[in-house]
């Protein structure tokens, strides 16, 4: 039995090489000053208005995106669950399929609709809206919701299908109305699904630079764009590394908070 432990070694070495050391590299660059010395300058740079602004905008957009996704996905998953469909049914298939399109093509698809001459653009112009759609916060938010919605639907639906029909029927027999069944039985039981859905939507929407690049007319910088540009065009790697370190800590902290609520939810069930 002890020999089996050795099997975990190769991947441990791999992880050190491809996870730990790369993260240390970010630290190394992030804390490196102009002449190679130690500095906090790049970490504290997050407080400068030109970085803090994009961070707050990203934060706001990703929170709204997460909430909107949850609001759209929850009823959807609930309806699908109550329809009692089999897992491999055609309807489920239909709601998963768009996710298999390439991420960039999905975003590009919206660019086609929102940009000048696109259907949505023309429609809104007819309604009297003047100005551009691409290059607004709304366009970016729309792109985020569209791209990350499936990440919310799937865990929710999975969590809901795990609920036994008998549990629901028992609640009904005990006199719960449909509303109570939804909020007092299904909701708490799907809490882990909500948490993983929130995680899977929040993190990528907070750090994206692709959606804002394509749908933001490059007028709007999110924190992802700032970091990407520090590396790809400004060639200020130290600053880029410093900012990504802050972002990473931020993400890991919010994960920890979420997980805390996750376990709280489980305690409530028990």
């Amino acid at each position: 039995m002890n020999k089996r432990k050795l099997l975990s070694l190769p991947y441990l070495i791999w992880m050190i090489g491809f996870t730990v050391i790369p993260l240390l590299m970010i630290l190394w660059y992030g804390f490196q000053g102009k002449n190679g010395g130690f500095t906090l300058e790049h970490i504290l740079a997050i407080g400068r208005p030109e970085h803090l602004g994009p961070l707050l905008v990203s934060l706001l957009l990703s929170v709204i995106c997460t909430v909107v996704c949850l609001l759209i996905a929850y009823p959807l998953a609930l309806i699908l669950r109550k329809a009692g469909l089999k897992r491999s049914s055609f309807v489920i298939f239909i709601f998963i399929l768009p996710m298999w399109m390439n991420f960039l093509l999905r975003t590009y698809a919206w660019l086609n609709l929102l940009d000048d001459g696109g259907l949505v653009y023309v429609f809104l112009q007819k309604l009297g809206y003047k100005g551009n759609i691409v290059g607004t916060y709304g366009a970016i938010l729309l792109g985020m919701v569209y791209n990350y919605l499936p990440f919310m639907v799937l865990p929710l639906y999975n969590a809901m299908t795990k609920i036994d029909d008998n549990t629901l029927n028992a609640a009904r027999d005990l006199g719960a109305n449909e509303r109570q069944v939804n909020f007092r039985v299904i909701m708490p039981l799907t809490f882990p699904g909500i948490v993983s859905g929130v995680t899977m939507v929040f993190v990528p929407s907070l750090t994206t630079f692709v959606v804002s690049d394509l749908l933001g007319g490059r007028k709007i910088f999110l924190i992802g764009n700032i970091i990407e540009q520090e590396f790809s065009t400004a060639s200020n790697w130290n600053l880029g590394a410093g900012l990504s370190f802050v972002l990473m800590i931020f993400i890991l902290l919010s994960m920890a908070v979420l997980n805390h609520y996750d376990t709280l939810g489980e305690e409530d069930d028990g």
Binding site: N132, K219, T233
Partner: protein, 354 residues
């Protein structure tokens, strides 16, 4: 069980694809006569690449970038990544100063006499003393492309890019130097200024312009102007001819405050693995017929004097494409490399604009 069978079939199909691709891939790698070219996007008649490969038997790996600033860090990280690169003059200077370039062997360039010596002298004076590193490929100005159907005013000044009338219909360049150049020239400063006060003023000016701007663009500016989506766009002069052919309502103006005149040219990287092929490439691009055909395709002015006899006379006399030497010498400036600190300063200010 059925699932497993399907899965196995899928795996076998997949593996065979991998094996086939691996064989194909290794076949490519065995050719040791490979030339890696790094050029601006949409900046060559791609048929010429094939012709070069046929004539010389050298396999070309062709890759593109969209701004100088995007190209530089890749070369800085590993200057053997590419053999020939086509940066703008100020970036050539930066690469020279950071020891990323290999001096040219002019004796290998049999078509060197095709070059217009006026430009060689300008480059030698300002950028590359004695023309050691750079062979000019294209040159031009930065100006305003406008749609005569959407703009009634006379376009002769950068001021029009701050006119509220055209709010939401202005396309600005999303490249630091080009964007700042517009503000610097409007205010009457040098486009190579490093004075913090002047730069701050430019930043405020660009910030004031931000709400009027439809989008910050690089290569899309051409398509958007052709489609009539915007009234005014800051653009490189070379795009004008192509745009006008596609949409006759478009016109190009060099603002009276002056503008940037730029030169893009071929350089060979310091650690190039195939400098010989790189010279052959440059020499090929210098050939008069090649340069002329390339001009017909990309419509960027060529510094190749010998190529001019292949080019339409009307085009040669169009001041938007080949502006007067006088305009160039009196109103226009070249970008100079300003050093790492000033570069950072520009970039930090640029972030504040958005």
């Amino acid at each position: 069980m059925k699932r497993n069978v399907i899965f196995a079939a899928f795996l076998i199909a997949a593996l065979s694809i991998v094996v086939m691709a691996a064989c194909g891939g290794s076949g490519n790698k065995q050719e040791n006569n490979v030339l890696k070219v790094y050029n601006w996007g949409d900046y060559i008649d791609e048929e010429l690449i094939g012709e070069f490969e046929e004539e010389t038997g050298i396999k070309v790996i062709y890759d593109t970038f969209s701004t100088n600033e995007e190209m530089y860090p890749r070369i800085e990280a590993d200057s053997s990544l590419y053999d020939v690169v086509c940066p703008s003059e100020y970036m050539v200077k930066k690469m020279m100063e950071n020891d990323l370039l290999m001096p040219l062997d002019w004796s290998k360039l049999s078509n060197k006499d095709n070059l217009n010596q006026t430009y060689m002298k300008i480059l030698s004076d300002f950028i590359d003393p004695d023309n050691k590193y750079m062979v000019p490929y294209c040159w031009g100005t930065v100006g305003i492309l406008y749609n005569t159907k959407l703009v009634d005013d006379v376009v002769d000044s950068w001021d029009i890019l701050w006119d509220e009338k055209y709010s939401g219909s202005i396309l600005m360049q999303d490249s630091v130097r080009d964007a700042f150049m517009v503000a610097e020239k409007k205010l009457g400063y040098s486009l190579n200024t490093t004075d913090p006060g002047e730069l701050e003023e430019c930043m405020e000016l660009l910030k004031a312009q931000y709400p009027l701007v439809k989008a910050y663009v690089i290569d899309e500016v051409r398509d958007k102007m052709i489609a009539g989506d915007a009234a005014l766009g800051v653009i490189y002069s070379g795009e004008y001819l192509y745009s006008k052919n596609e949409n006759p309502d478009l016109a190009y103006a060099i603002p009276k405050e002056g503008t940037n005149v730029w030169y893009d040219g071929w350089v060979i990287t310091k650690n190039s693995k195939n400098a010989d092929a790189a010279h052959k490439w440059i020499d090929f691009m210098l050939r008069a017929d090649v340069a002329a055909r390339n001009f017909d395709y990309i419509t960027y002015p060529t510094p190749n004097k010998a190529a001019e006899e292949f080019i339409d006379k009307d085009i040669l006399s169009d001041p938007a494409v080949f502006p007067d030497d006088k305009i160039i010498s009196e109103k226009c400036e070249m970008y100079l490399y300003l050093g790492k600190d000033a570069e950072n300063e520009y970039y930090e200010l640029w972030k504040k604009v958005k």
